[in-house]
């Protein structure tokens, strides 16, 4: 998918950087941090840290049950966060926002609850070759248990999904199509609306892994038409430990509970229970309350900056990074051209293992990621044991790309 070229206000990156305390840090004396690993987890602005700190300093209590000022405040803050997240992705109702631990747990929730209630031996589930392990393993577990068939949309040499192979697979009448909105390795932004429309044409349910899309460009579930959307707070300026599953209401209502315990019940007897309503049916036990508050502050922060502007900024940075990296002899960049991707660049350098690249870059304060990025099958396909990955967010600058490039030249010199 090509990100629409909307007129967006240019970000005031120096002002944004001032919001992120960690970006002021020197990783060792005289070496400023250059954080190029936001695809793994983003840094957190003062506004998010402050909201969580305020919560613990003045409103901390368990939610939904207590009848005292703190419990009322904590409940109101937790539910207000749900409302904010709901508006952020254009959900019809906040009750369709289930708080989970992260994207992985959200996908597991669908696999365990919807999957076990709906999939039988021989049923087809379509995934893609560019999935993160979190959207592979839950389905593999179910395939072992239920003997369902997993089919994979192939990735073409340009790093894009092969939609012809997808069309062929749809003839097998899949029950579910689950795919990543944006690859965490290739950076490819998949044509989600089209994939969903085609899936719905054959009666399949759709699940979108939005871990890399929701933080980086505007995602509206109504426009997308997705039946399920999973994402994590920590990749979008929020805390770790909280994520979201959005689901179509009728599907969520018909699904059995995932985890059992407190808060997900209406009534419990020694041998039976009745389910609570949405969204509580899927939120067993004391949830991550401060983290929900932090996530609410994070979506406020991102909205105040503007997702369109963030996407535009990342597009500029990634285009510049591709241009600069491709000029380095021996560097091979993995993934599609800038117009098809978000702010992720995975690459290799001839004769140098990605772990060594990362280690040497770290001496210059540059944080990138090296490895298979939880997408081993994609690396196997390209016959690569590992890649180095630099990823960008709203706070990154072209100067940081220049530092990256200079350090890669150092690596080359070192390795001769």
């Amino acid at each position: 998918m090509v990100i629409e070229q909307k007129p967006a206000n240019l970000l005031d990156v120096s002002q944004i950087r001032a919001d992120f305390p960690i970006l002021q840090r020197q990783v060792k004396p005289g070496v400023q941090l250059v954080y190029l690993d936001s695809t793994a987890t983003s840094q957190k602005p003062q506004q998010v840290i402050q909201a969580m700190d305020d919560y613990y300093r003045s409103s901390n209590a368990n939610i939904h049950r207590g009848i005292h000022v703190l419990a009322e405040e904590a409940t109101a803050l937790y539910e207000a966060a749900r409302e904010r997240v709901s508006r952020f992705i254009g959900a019809p109702s906040a009750r369709q926002i289930i708080f989970t631990r992260n994207t992985t747990e959200s996908i597991n929730l669908v696999a365990y609850s919807w999957g076990r209630a709906n999939l039988e031996e021989g049923d087809v589930v379509i995934l893609t070759e560019m999935e993160h392990h979190s959207n592979l393993v839950p389905w593999q577990i179910l395939a072992r248990e239920r003997n369902i068939r997993l089919e994979f949309v192939s990735v073409n040499p340009d790093g894009l999904l092969d939609l012809d192979s997808y069309k062929d697979l749809l003839k097998r009448e899949p029950r579910l199509v689950a795919f990543t909105h944006m690859s965490n390795v290739l950076g490819t932004i998949n044509p989600a609306e089209e994939i969903i429309r085609m899936a719905h044409d054959v009666g399949a349910v759709t699940l979108v892994d939005g871990a890399q899309s929701v933080p980086h460009f505007p995602v509206d579930v109504k426009q997308l038409g997705a039946d399920f959307l999973a994402f994590s707070a920590h990749k979008m300026c929020g805390p770790t430990g909280i994520g979201v599953l959005y689901g179509r209401k009728d599907l969520l209502e018909s699904m059995p509970p995932f985890l059992g315990g407190g808060d997900m019940i209406k009534r419990v007897h020694l041998r039976s229970f009745t389910n609570n309503e949405l969204p509580y049916k899927f939120e067993a036990g004391t949830p991550a309350i401060a983290e929900a508050v932090g996530m609410g502050a994070a979506v406020d922060y991102l909205s105040s900056v503007g997702l369109g502007s963030i996407a535009e900024h990342e597009k500029e940075i990634v285009s510049y990074a591709l241009e600069r990296l491709e000029e380095i002899p021996g560097v091979w960049v993995f993934g599609p051209e800038a117009q098809y991707k978000g702010g992720v660049v995975s690459f290799t350098l001839a004769g140098v293992h990605p772990h060594d690249i990362s280690q040497i870059l770290d001496m210059d304060g540059i944080a990138i990621r090296a490895g298979h990025h939880c997408a081993m099958p994609l690396h196997e396909k390209y016959n690569l044991p590992a890649t180095a990955r630099a990823s960008f967010y709203l706070y990154n600058t072209q100067e940081e790309v220049d530092k990256l490039v200079n350090s890669i030249y150092k690596v080359k010199t070192l390795f001769g």
């Binding site: 539910e79 209406k266 609570n276």
Partner: protein, 131 residues
């Protein structure tokens, strides 16, 4: 004493005017509030014009849940089922004369949720009915 326990609420809790069972009845529904363990059952009789001729509730729970049920049933005597469907959260809060936080709001709205689920003939009550 705080506003939450106004005389009206204590009075209705101690001496409800519309507590009991109707046998036979035309409409009945029951549900509970998992937060406090409040339980409300409502039974209605309606005439040919779909007007409520009798309405009683039964159950147990906190003063707010029980008083709100009593006040709600008083307010619907002689009303049509369409009038009942049109009732909202604000009507209940006005009857109670209270502003409530999110936890206690569930107690106050349980009776309306039960009443509307019954009138709509739903299998299960849900919070959409009272928003």
């Amino acid at each position: 004493m705080d506003d939450l326990y106004r005389e009206l609420i204590i009075e209705r809790y101690k001496n409800p005017q519309y507590r009991g069972r109707l046998d036979p009845h035309d409409i009945s529904f029951e549900d509970e509030n998992p937060l406090c363990g409040d339980h409300i059952r409502i039974e209605l009789r309606v005439d040919q014009d779909d007007r409520v001729t009798d309405a009683l509730f039964d159950g147990h729970g906190c003063a707010i849940s029980q008083a709100s049920a009593d006040l709600l049933l008083e307010s619907i005597q002689g009303k049509t089922l369409e009038d009942v469907k049109a009732l909202t959260k604000d009507d209940i809060l006005e009857m109670l004369g209270l502003e409530l936080g999110p936890v206690r709001l569930k107690c106050a709205l349980l009776s309306l949720k039960v009443l509307k689920a019954g009138v709509y003939g739903l299998g299960e009550a849900n919070d959409d009915l009272v928003e």
